[in-house]
Symmetry: C2
Subunit: 409 residues, 2 copies
């Protein structure tokens, strides 16, 4: 039978990250590719303790085993509002109607796209941005226009130009320890973004899975803080990087009218997120494990980022420049020599090292000589080894490029 | 700000079921509306026992807490293939590439629609059918054409006519203890459906959440059985009705090419289903709890269905006819007098009884004088009481209708 698949899938071939996942089980592989938190920091002991009580409490598990409301348990929505407040977001005018629990932060992205985007609508995103957003936006038939960024955040003039030109429905940003660059927008830049969004009526999806993982520098408030009337920003966060990805829970906070529409969209997708996951996270937050566990993990992130930073300086060619993030899990780099990091990837794989090539993060095919390196999930020794291998490989690749470009005598 | 929501949401207002969920917490309400399994049969003790071991096994929980593959753990996919085999499906040519774990059976429906349907494509479904399917199909901009059904299943001539007229991408059926009618297609009818699907190249989504809940009559093989080369049927089932809805797990089994596309579609939606839920269900199946628990629950379903059947005979007017299912959780009825079951609903609610009005299950506005009654989730006493209240109310409603129709003297 000749299957006639939908247009939604026509451009989707599996993200690089998910495909690389398949080779990770190969023994000896060092992965700088994924987006996992430090596995050493997963809260085995605390969740074991919580589960022992939870599953024995048959009254509470009545809620766990039955159908739940699509938007999530009210108790958990209260708790995530409290969490948002602790991030600096003003929740004084909000109630549980302003929050929705989703099956990971990824589902928040899917729902906000489903809520706003028709085939052919334009959405804006930083150039480069999270490849999962690009893929999901493409599945909705969105035209994606990239907004350029500098050291401070989005180039406001470019953003305004793109808004005027494209009349976008949505702007997607990862303003703190961005995926893939690790960079953080300044407070002034966030304020300017919200002002433009309000002026032109553009919804902003602020994706913030990483901001708690700050290892240096001064905290910057979420972009949502500048949306003082809770009008144009949906704030998205996740428990994947700070508790556990396998539990698959995230949340969105925003205008009640938008959250209501996202809830209706979620009904048709999975009815509700796992009640078991919701109760585990609810108890995790109630017992106050959230911040202490993050605190305990920061030295590990600091050490690993330091190892990667040092190794890049030691082993990489001088044609390579890279970011120096104050947190998160990624470093982003670019070769000034136009080598193809996608072609280099298969050579790296032969040497048991993986990363993500830069083009995955651009909607317009740029990023050919860039790459994203994850530092959260390998030991300092492995990071040093992998960066050394990549450094030697990139020097060889550059030398080969130059040879080819030198005319024969 | 004037929010410009997508066309996908334009027709979605929350399904009746999900909205009714909100009133269920009202004290004294008797619900014949939902689609929950018998709450008395939820496996509190077994899952408590499984959880006690699972969360203490930090090696295994390494898989639980980290990111997992989008299609689900291979061990669990093996187990659901075994389950499908026990349902009579020939899995001899299949491997784990033919199965995907989804976040409830509902997500399987969403993914198969995403995989095949473009805006404006036609999908076929029985008239009436599961309202969640109608809503999700509408969110993809599908045109839904209803196929008429008789005692035996779909009217094959009508199905062929609709296939020829609409060139549909997909046929959606709940052939065993259908939602909402409770009826079961005969084996011959299933065979004929598959033959037409193969002849005209139409994908069939066979949704089978209820077949294990058989309380009388002879088992009929899944429709998938007649798709001998594993070509045109995606078989969907769920753990919601036979283990727990709150765990949110289901699965699809079908051609590898289709399952692969559904996997890519799932990447952009929620990356993977909860690993915690997957491990709980994996152990539940490994320990052989699946069938014994169902066996133990059947007398409860049998008793409740019997109570409803008896009460309908006792209290309902003779203008009402209804189905007599051999299992599942629903009875479907229709008034020959053209009373409006949607209008009657608000009166029933005042009397603390809820059901679902018939129009929710038709794509074309029919079903005005029909209703769906769930018998799985109230005690025999409550069922008797609720049916008595509805019976009296419908007699009153009919009398009022006839009065209005009698010309003034």
């Amino acid at each position: 039978m000749d299957y006639q698949f939908s247009e939604a899938l026509a451009g989707m071939h599996g993200t690089a990250t998910r495909e690389i996942y398949r080779v990770l089980s190969r023994p000896g592989i060092i992965s700088l590719a994924g987006g996992s938190p430090a596995h050493d920091c997963l809260p085995y002991r605390q969740i074991e303790e919580i589960a022992a009580e939870l599953f024995a409490d048959h009254d509470l598990m009545t809620k766990g085993y039955r159908y739940g409301t699509t938007e999530g348990f009210p108790e958990l929505r209260e708790l995530v509002l409290g969490l948002a407040a602790s991030f600096g977001i003003n929740i004084s005018g909000m109630d549980t109607g302003n929050a929705i629990i989703t099956s990971g932060g990824g589902q928040s992205i899917d729902l906000i796209l489903k809520t706003f985007v028709n085939r052919g609508d334009t959405v804006l995103a930083e150039n480069p941005t999270y490849q999962g957003f690009l893929q999901t936006a493409q599945s909705y038939g969105a035209v994606i226009a990239g907004v350029d960024a500098g050291e401070d955040g989005l180039i406001i003039q470019d953003l305004e130009e793109k808004i005027l030109r494209h009349k976008p429905k949505l702007l997607y940003v990862v303003p703190t320890f961005s995926n893939p660059t690790g960079k953080t927008y300044s407070a002034a830049n966030r304020k300017a973004i919200v002002e433009l969004a309000l002026r032109y009526g553009v919804m902003v999806a602020e994706d913030d899975p990483y901001s708690r993982l700050r290892i240096s520098g001064e905290a910057v408030p979420p972009l949502k803080v500048f949306d003082t009337n809770n009008t144009c920003v949906v704030y998205i966060s996740s428990f994947s990087k700070v508790v556990s990805p396998g539990i698959r829970l995230g949340f969105s906070i925003g205008p009640a009218e938008v959250i209501r529409k996202m809830t209706i969209a979620k009904q048709g997708v999975d009815l509700s997120s796992s009640n078991i996951s919701q109760l585990l996270i609810q108890k995790y937050l109630e017992r106050g494990y959230y911040y202490p566990n993050i605190e305990k993990s920061l030295p590990i992130y600091r050490e690993r980022k330091g190892s990667m930073f040092e190794a890049l300086g030691k082993y990489f060619p001088e044609e390579f420049s890279h970011t120096d993030p104050d947190g998160g899990i990624f470093i982003w780099g670019e070769f000034r020599t136009p080598i193809d990091t996608a072609a280099m990837f298969s050579e790296a794989l032969k040497r048991n090292v993986v990363y993500i090539e830069g083009r995955s993060f651009f909607a317009d095919g740029r990023g050919r000589s860039s790459l994203r390196l994850n530092f959260s999930n390998e030991t300092p020794e492995n990071i040093d080894k992998a960066v050394r291998i990549l450094g030697e490989l990139s020097k060889m690749t550059i030398a080969a490029c130059e040879e080819r470009e030198t005319p024969a005598p």
